[in-house]
């Protein structure tokens, strides 16, 4: 393999792998994404290996640590093949039983199965779990099947077939045409047609061209790119090589944020392997095409996700955006034509070339083709990553896949598009999800964060949260964004502290319009969106903060106080124990008393009370003192 392999050799390797792999051989797959890692999957894997060694059945069972399955809430997740038996929240103490019962005796262990929260029925197979059933896992499909650190696993499931097809059967122009026909649009959020971007870049004459994979997933609450890079890095690399072939680029950069150590590790392993196999390097698949990819780790600046800022960062400067044109496809990294696409876009390219544009364009809506991965998080039962066809409604995602709102609370809003997006209220959740519909609702598709909020979420606080974020991350180059966001944060802070004045809401709207119109880059142009959408759909909540000095959701600390409802309190002393400031007193089985002057509103008692006996009310004592 020293000098790489040709197309024919790759196919031979693929045939060889599938010959040595028995289809019916039991395989224990353990999800090893960051989510399951945090829940101790590492020890689970070790325990399985130990147990299998003890029983001396190493020859007849495989163990595989796979990429993220997406259902992070239920981790650590273990799926047993060939049957596809789905065990959730597995603990070390269950390992021996799983091996002896399920692997050896072929019996299913009932109590480790997933229980459908709606029907209360136990579900055996992964594909029948409602969370997965309504999804269409194209890009994510192989995540749970392959070991991301083993290139052979990827080749076994058809990996690098798309590259072979592009190389052998298609000219670069034909590849671009195929991407254009597929209707693929940028998955980073803005939705620019990928094929058009590539054609522009191909059309620019230059001795060197660059290609960048944007993995600076900065939107808080979004982690699909992380999961793809961790779980199936070769699918992204393959897409990049195809892209490089199409536009004629010789150097690729994966710009990945430093907060994703596991993704960086896996992508580096994958690149090393791809080089060994001659899929990257001086002659890709023994052709005269030359292409290699480097990893660049971001240093923690949200604005770096903007394309011109990202290039400044790679060039060793501060992440400052610059005006366009010239667009990166004409003058990008080091002044050369550059194509920059998001992780998910690159992974989509692989599937489009492999299965054809016709197949791809049948998924989705008229103007938004294919699937989109969302990270479904917040106050929802089934949190995790979901891949759905474009055009699905928010209701289907939240209720059919997400299993509804946590703790039987009331749904309030869903936030899409991160700090650049907006909040969509309950009466709009039957909207189909595509680029245009979300934009009309005042939000954006964004990279795919979908944060579900319940009645305990204060919309003014959410708006302030996002604005503080963009204000801190504003690079400071242009005035509307630098000064404007600070002023908006000041007003919002005032409102959440009960010092809101008449006219503040109008002032916010005015500032928002100015910042949107005059900012240099996408960060500033979209920064006011969270404020504008919450004002549009939740204005009464703002008014209640400003006029009545009350936070109805009991979040803004100056605008509510906790009270114990005597009829509901059972005197269980849970809240007494948990209170860090001894604000709650009361003997066992007697009514507890909460001293509002000692209370720091840390919410610990509210969280722990099982009887809903603690409520956040409008502030009484302050109002009284003011009246004196």
């Amino acid at each position: 393999m020293k000098n790489g392999i040709s197309i024919r050799q790759l196919e031979e390797i693929r045939a060889g792998i599938s010959q040595t792999r028995e289809k019916d051989k039991p395989c224990i797959t353990v999800c090893s994404g960051t989510g399951c890692h945090a829940q101790g999957c590492g020890e689970i894997v070790r325990a399985f290996r130990e147990e299998i060694r003890k029983l001396d059945i190493e020859e007849s069972v495989d163990i595989r640590t796979t990429g993220c399955h997406g259902f992070c809430e239920r981790g650590p997740i273990v799926v047993i093949y060939p049957e596809g038996i789905f065990y959730e929240k597995l603990k070390i103490k269950n390992v021996a039983e799983v091996v002896s019962e399920t692997i050896v005796n072929k019996r299913i262990i009932d109590r480790l199965l997933f229980v459908d929260p709606v029907t209360k029925k136990k579900i055996v197979h992964e594909k029948d779990v409602p969370f997965y059933k309504k999804q269409k896992r194209v890009v994510f499909g192989n995540n749970g099947l392959i070991d991301p650190t083993d290139i052979k696993d990827y080749i076994a499931v058809g990996g690098y077939q798309a590259l072979v097809k592009a190389f052998r059967d298609m000219t670069p122009e034909e590849v671009i045409a195929e991407i254009k026909v597929s209707g693929l649009r940028g998955r980073g959020g803005a939705g620019f047609p990928t094929g058009r971007k590539w054609a522009d870049c191909r059309g620019t004459i230059s001795d060197t061209k660059y290609l960048i994979c944007n993995a600076d997933e900065g939107d808080p609450g979004a982690f699909m790119d992380r999961s793809l890079l961790e779980g199936n890095p070769h699918s992204v690399i393959e897409g990049m090589i195809i892209g490089a072939y199409a536009i004629g680029a010789s150097v690729g950069v994966i710009y990945v944020r430093m907060e994703y150590p596991l993704a960086v590790k896996h992508i580096k392993i994958a690149l090393k392997k791809a080089r060994e196999y001659g899929l990257l390097g001086k002659s890709v698949l023994k052709s005269d095409f030359r292409f290699d990819i480097h990893v660049f780790q971001g240093a923690g600046a949200f604005v770096s996700g903007e394309e011109t800022s990202m290039m400044a960062s790679i060039e060793g400067r501060r992440s400052f955006p610059r005006p366009r044109p010239p667009f990166p496809t004409q003058s990008g990294l080091w002044g050369k034509p550059t194509t920059i696409n998001n992780v998910e876009t690159w992974a989509n390219v692989t599937h489009i070339i492999a299965k054809g544009a016709d197949w791809y364009s049948k998924i989705g809506t008229r103007d938004s083709k294919g699937t989109k991965i969302f990270s479904l998080v917040g106050k929802i039962n089934n949190t995790g990553l979901v891949e759905v066809p474009m055009g699905i409604t928010l209701r289907q995602i939240i209720y059919e896949i997400g299993g509804g709102i946590k703790n039987k609370k009331k749904f309030k809003a869903v936030q899409t598009g991160g700090p650049s997006g907006g909040c969509i209220p309950e009466n709009m959740i039957d909207l189909p999800i595509d680029y245009e519909t979300l934009a009309e609702a005042g939000s954006i598709m964004g990279s795919g964060g979908m944060i579900v909020m319940d009645e305990d979420t204060c919309m003014v606080d959410v708006a302030l949260y996002f604005l503080k974020f963009t204000q801190e991350e504003s690079c400071g180059k242009c005035v509307p964004c630098r000064i404007g966001t600070v002023k908006m944060v000041e007003i919002l802070t005032r409102i959440t502290e009960g010092k809101g004045e008449e006219g503040d809401i109008e002032r916010l709207e005015n500032l928002a319009r100015t910042i949107k119109t005059l900012s240099l880059c996408g960060l500033g142009q979209t920064a006011p969106n969270p404020v504008l959408t919450t004002l549009r759909y939740f204005r009464p909540e703002y008014l209640s903060h400003v006029k009545e000095k009350h936070c109805p959701a009991a979040v803004c600390k100056e605008l509510f106080e906790y009270r114990i409802i005597p009829e509901k309190c059972t005197g269980c002393q849970q809240c007494v124990k948990v209170c860090p400031t001894d604000a709650i007193t009361g003997a066992k089985a007697e009514l507890h008393i909460l001293d509002p002057l000692k209370c720091i509103k840390c919410r610990a008692c509210y969280e722990i009370c099982r009887f809903d006996a603690i409520v956040g009310d409008a502030v009484h004592h302050q109002v009284q003192t003011e009246n004196l």
Partner: protein, 161 residues
């Protein structure tokens, strides 16, 4: 940090302008923070002014200019964690440690930090305590964690004696 340490790191780079950020990352990885001396040395190596290097380094939140405590506590401030009450978790750490975010306790044991999002949103609110992920954090666990690491440190210093 000796001259040899710098030479070791510099030898892996070509000395181009684009090396600046990876270089700063390596130096911080090895020494925990970017010292004045480090900036002087980079300036000589890359032939860029110290001013410009500090300008770049201070722009990015990754780079630190003072030494951190023994254990670093990162409280995730991502949206998913926020709506699940991460601010209350941060407040509880502040109250117990008597420091603000980005500060280190007087005994140099704990550094409290906030991060924008670690991408483990399904497990929010999340805290990364000395490299270990703690999902679904509760206010009462804050004190338990601090006690755990305090006694861990005591044990370590005992064995060191």
């Amino acid at each position: 940090m000796t001259n040899k340490d710098y030479i070791d790191i510099f030898s892996r780079f070509n000395g181009e302008e684009g090396d600046l950020i990876p270089l700063l990352q390596e130096i911080q990885e090895k020494f925990g923070y970017i010292s004045e001396e480090a900036i002087k040395n980079i300036s000589r190596f890359l032939k860029i002014s110290e001013n410009q290097i500090f300008g770049v380094a201070s722009f990015y939140s990754q780079f630190k200019f003072i030494e951190s405590g023994k254990y670093t506590i990162k409280v995730c401030m991502g949206t998913a964690c926020h709506v699940r009450g991460s601010l209350n978790i941060l407040d509880e750490f502040r109250r117990n440690l008597h420091v603000e975010a980005d500060e280190t306790t007087d005994d140099k044991l704990f550094t409290l930090e906030t991060v924008n999002c670690v991408g483990a949103c399904a497990l929010g609110p999340i805290v990364i305590f000395s490299g270990d992920y703690h999902g679904q954090m509760k206010i009462k666990i804050v004190r338990e964690l601090l006690e755990k690491y305090k006694s861990k440190n005591e044990k370590e210093s005992e064995t060191a004696v």
